[in-house]
């Protein structure tokens, strides 16, 4: 589904290289986790894949279902099935959560040549999904993420994901800032979405989330490259020993 090949990325404005030949492949139906020290380039990878400005790809590339991701506008990537749950979800005062979400859902449907949802259909759907994530109706009425607690923002990201039904979900530290119960809710939300033609790339610092969302593969990212790939046991190793040995092993 998602193929990243020898990706080199630098900042557009500065002479700073962040990704240094990153390669990675997530087949359909799988969950991959990325762990790695602060500043290793995890968020940068997620931004470059979803099309944020400010980065320059100097070498390599990335495809989603064989389509060149990097050639598309962010909204085209979304319509193609890519979704990023932000590490820091953005507040947008004055724009209602519902209006925003409905516009997004229908814009994607339109881009894919599907019928748009009526406001009745949309409401029914969003209410049901919000209930599963224990997001109350009042929160839906408020402006996007404004006045939401850290955990509420993260749950709102998962609500968006559930509504948009992307094929490739990237989650950037969705677990940070969540209490134990919220983590469970989010994991249940993600597990409910797991299917044979949907994949996940879960960026996290902690093994705990991976107890709830069982990964097929765990990658360790350091200094802009994948330095080690393994099974779920790799996450346990990081949890217990930190990155020290893995980093020195990789040289």
């Amino acid at each position: 589904m998602l193929k990243i090949n020898n990706l080199h990325v630098k900042l557009e404005e500065e002479d700073k290289q962040i990704l240094n030949g990153l390669s990675l492949e997530v087949p359909a139906g799988q969950v991959h986790a990325i762990m790695g020290p602060n500043g290793s380039g995890k968020s940068t990878l997620s931004y470059v894949l979803s099309g944020r400005d400010g980065y320059e790809v100097t070498e390599g590339g990335a495809t989603l279902d064989g389509r060149d991701l990097l050639a598309m506008e962010p909204e085209e990537r979304a319509a193609a099935g890519l979704f990023l749950a932000f590490q820091y979800p953005v507040e947008i005062p004055g724009v209602g959560n519902m209006t925003f979400l409905r516009t997004a859902v229908n814009a994607q449907r339109k881009a894919r040549g599907e019928e748009e949802l009526s406001s009745g259909e949309f409401l029914k759907l969003v209410r049901a999904k919000a209930k599963d994530l224990q997001i109350d109706a009042d929160m839906l009425k408020r402006p996007v993420n404004v006045g939401f607690s850290g955990g509420e923002k993260k749950r709102n990201e998962i609500l968006q994901m559930a509504m948009l039904e992307p094929r490739m979900c990237i989650m950037d530290e969705t677990d940070s800032g969540l209490d134990v119960d919220a983590m469970r809710l989010v994991a249940d939300g993600v597990n409910a979405l797991r299917s044979a033609d949907r994949s996940f790339l879960v960026i996290t610092h902690y093994q705990r989330l991976l107890n709830h969302i069982q990964p097929d593969v765990v990658h360790i990212l350091s200094n802009g490259r994948i330095i080690k790939t393994g099974g779920p046991e790799l996450a346990l190793q990081v949890e217990e020993e930190g990155y020290g040995d893995i980093l020195s092993e990789a040289g």
């Binding site: 932000f86 953005v90 947008i92 516009t103």
Partner: protein, 448 residues
């Protein structure tokens, strides 16, 4: 070139040098108008003319006109502007129950308007009433305008009092069941419209006043508002303007104890627009809010929009808010001059002023001159002004959810304007203004 005169805070405008002589220019300006003699307004009109001759027309060196070129307002006649066959916007407020007064080129059209009777208010028109020597508005017409000439003179307001042809006179004595809606229409391509409204809201009474439509090739409007104790006025103006339109308007308000004034203006298009608000809070525990949302796109010709506000606190425990938001693109220019004056003894004043511009490109600009002048020691006053571009992070966030770029920008512009729209208390009215804004933004999303 001669040296530029030293700028002073002097009340008298400095005369500009160069031809034609200011007095000649003023005479030419007056000659182009038909000055009504007036019935009950006769004395006020005569006085206004004398005052106007004393002030003269503003020149480029006037401190008060430093950011806005007064010459198109000084010109004897406006350039004609073709009358658009049909507006792309559906008319505002038409689905609400309201009392509609229609003005065509600034002149009341009784046949097209609703019947002027509504429980809780007394309503008339200036031209009609002015055939009488006496009227309840006699002590008010031109009075607030005159008071508002200090400390800064506003020649076009004096010109208005002298020359206004028509307008509405409303005395509110109760709580009328529906709003009064003044709807302007154009008929002549070169109409130079001067309208003058007087609104008196009696003790404890309330009114919602709506103003929409298109006014003239050039317009000069004055709205005098006198709020008695505990009176309330909600004023929403959303006039439409063609791209070449010239407009100047003044709101003069006197707010007595416990009264509330809430005025909101939506302004789109126009080549040169200046709106002045002069509000004097004279009784304790009163509230005055004045807000505007301005959208300017320079792609069809120059766009310059100036909001100039002067709020005086002369009583205790009063609250004032100024919320001005301008969205500018394609070389559009925005100006905000706003002042809060807290007089001695006006303790516990809560004064707030914010002016912000969202520049959609680097060619557009915003000039702001916020001022505070405080002579009381126990007050809370703040002012702020910002100029910024679209928030790239928010734009990316929206687009990453599949919202197309154009649509995402519309969302962010509406987000930027939200604080100003919040000043409209009524949800239905606010919703309609929001829809109008959204339609304009969507239509112009692709201009560059």
């Amino acid at each position: 070139m001669s040296q530029v005169a030293v700028q002073t805070k002097d009340a008298t405008p400095q005369q500009s040098v160069g031809a034609p002589k200011p007095a000649d220019a003023l005479q030419a300006r007056l000659d182009a108008l038909t000055l009504p003699k007036g019935g009950f307004t006769a004395a006020a009109r005569a006085d206004a003319l004398v005052r106007l001759r004393g002030m003269g027309l503003p020149g480029p060196r006037d401190e008060y006109w430093r950011y806005t070129d007064p010459r198109p307002f000084n010109a004897a006649q406006p350039q004609p502007i073709p009358i658009a066959a049909k507006s792309p916007d559906s008319p505002l407020f038409t689905d609400l129950d309201r009392l509609v007064l229609i003005f065509v080129d600034g002149v009341f059209d009784a046949a097209a308007s609703d019947d002027l009777s509504l429980a809780g208010l007394e309503i008339g028109t200036l031209a009609q009433a002015d055939m009488q020597p006496d009227h309840w508005a006699r002590g008010l017409y031109g009075t607030l305008e005159t008071a508002g000439q200090k400390p800064v003179s506003r020649p076009f307001a004096a010109l208005n009092t002298a020359a206004a042809r028509d307008g509405v006179l409303i005395r509110v004595t109760g709580k009328p069941a529906k709003p009064v809606h003044i709807l302007h229409r154009r008929a002549s391509e070169s109409a130079d419209v001067i309208w003058h409204h007087v609104i008196r809201v009696e003790e404890g009474a309330e009114l919602t006043l709506l103003e929409t439509g298109m006014v003239g090739a050039r317009s000069n409007g004055v709205l005098e508002v006198d709020l008695a104790k505990g009176a309330k006025l909600h004023h929403i103006t959303a006039k439409r303007a063609g791209h070449q339109k010239l407009g100047i308007s003044h709101l003069f308000a006197r707010v007595e104890a416990e009264a509330q004034l809430k005025s909101f203006a939506l302004s789109v298009n126009g080549t040169l627009m200046r709106h002045e608000g002069v509000i004097e809070i004279v009784g304790d525990d009163a509230v005055a809010h004045i807000a505007a949302a301005v959208l300017g796109d320079g792609d069809k010709g120059p766009f310059h929009h100036d909001d100039t506000v002067f709020i005086t606190h002369a009583a205790e425990n009063c609250e004032s808010r100024q919320v001005f938001k301008k969205v500018l693109k394609n070389g559009a220019e925005g100006v905000f001059q706003g002042k809060i004056l807290v007089k001695q003894g006006a303790q516990k004043t809560d004064g707030y002023q914010i002016s912000q511009a969202l520049l959609l490109d680097e060619r557009s600009q915003f000039l702001a001159k916020p001022e505070l002048e405080i002579y009381a020691d126990d007050v809370k006053c703040s002012h702020g002004s910002t100029t910024g571009a679209l928030d790239e992070t928010a734009l990316f966030y929206l687009r990453s959810r599949g919202v197309p770029k154009d649509r995402a920008i519309v969302f962010l512009v509406l987000s930027f304007l939200a604080d100003a729209l919040e000043e409209i208390e009524d949800e239905v009215l606010r919703g309609q203004i929001n829809d109008r804004l959204e339609a304009w933004l969507t239509r112009r999303a692709n201009s560059q």
